[in-house]
């Protein structure tokens, strides 16, 4: 027993190593846990990019499962993400609503004309007010909404093939999204 006690400091040290390792490696300090999960999408009243006359509100987001993608033409990661959004739209019929975040509408129109348009429509959030209500602190960010307009999942950073496979698709399967798709 007396000899075993000599190992106590070593055990303490190993515990410390494990705790610090978990704290520093598993916890990416750049990714904030969203305060909006399981909450309704915040209210807004903003113009549509496609139809300047039209005003979109949170009610327009209801009625179907939707991915809301916050993007901008000044954001290089959004360019990388764009191809994946196109693939999700074409391959799975995923409906994506865009939020043009702190950007010139003309820039966004040019971008969509040049690279293709994966969105069913785009909301123009020119001064970033909707972004703040969404807890956005960079672009891109994406939100998965259910038919009631509740936020089920948030992704900070790009949606890529891995995020689709591991995070978004399983959630859609849980909602029987794909079954509904086949019935249509």
């Amino acid at each position: 027993m007396g000899r075993l006690r000599l190992f106590l400091p070593l055990c303490g040290f190993l515990l410390l190593v494990v705790m610090l390792w978990l704290g520093f490696s598993l916890n990416d300090p750049h990714i904030l846990p969203s305060a909006l999960l399981q909450k309704p999408f915040p209210g807004f009243e903003l113009p549509s990019l496609q139809d300047a006359e039209k005003t979109l509100t949170q009610e327009d987001l209801k009625g179907k499962i939707l991915l809301v993608n916050v993007w901008a033409t000044w954001c290089p990661t959004c360019k990388a993400e764009h191809a994946e959004l196109m693939r999700l739209k074409e391959q799975f019929g995923l409906e994506i609503a865009g939020v043009v975040y702190k950007d010139e509408p003309d820039n966004a129109r040019r971008w969509l004309a040049a690279y293709g348009d994966p969105y069913i429509y785009n909301i123009i959030d020119r001064d970033g007010r909707l972004g703040i209500d969404l807890g956005v602190y960079g672009a891109p960010e994406s939100f998965l909404l259910n038919a009631e307009g509740k936020i089920l999942y948030k992704r900070v950073g790009e949606v890529n093939a891995r995020i689709w496979r591991d995070e978004i698709r399983p959630r859609l399967e849980q909602l029987e999204y794909f079954d509904l798709d086949q019935q249509r």
Partner: protein
């Protein structure tokens, strides 16, 4: 995510800005200066104290006052708006927390999932004191009464001996 992802300023402009910042140490120390207008000195003081207590969500350890990130500037604008609307501190704090979570608070609330943060140091202090007590208690006293008597006798003899011989 790339740290500079939101920076669309060419690098040479940033360099020039940094050099200018070096020339004016007073400005650099204050961080960012916005051209906000206030109705009273109290309002401005309140704004200044509020932007100091919230953490910028994008930068890991800078408050809203000290960050030149676009999101920090947007949040300063929101706080300015709420200060002008004479909203309460609790309202403004709630506004920030409901959107960006506890991350933006430098003073985290006491809750079930944060108790370890608040009580952890106290637990370690108690453990340390208990350990210290046991460690000190276990040590044998430096001398038994018997030994002390013996030592006294030796000392007494030593005092006598130089003059006794």
């Amino acid at each position: 995510m790339n740290f500079f992802q939101n920076n669309y300023l060419p690098v040479r402009y940033i360099t020039v800005l940094l050099l200018l910042a070096l020339l004016s140490p007073g400005m650099a120390a204050q961080g960012v200066i916005d051209a906000f207008e206030f109705e009273s000195v109290e309002q401005e003081a309140r704004y200044q104290s509020l932007v100091a207590i919230f953490r910028c969500p994008k930068c890991l350890n800078t408050n809203l006052a000290g960050s030149d990130g676009p999101i920090a500037s947007d949040l300063r604008r929101e706080i300015h708006r709420m200060v002008k609307e004479e909203q309460s501190d609790a309202y403004i704090s709630g506004f920030m927390q409901s959107r960006y979570g506890d991350f933006v608070l430098y003073d985290p609330p006491f809750r079930v999932d944060t108790w370890i943060l608040w009580l952890g140091p106290l637990v370690f202090l108690i453990l340390g004191l208990a350990f210290l007590r046991r460690f000190l208690g276990q040590r044998e006293p430096a001398m038994t009464d018997e030994e002390r008597n013996e030592l006294d006798q030796l000392l007494a003899r030593g005092e006598r001996s130089p003059s006794g011989e």
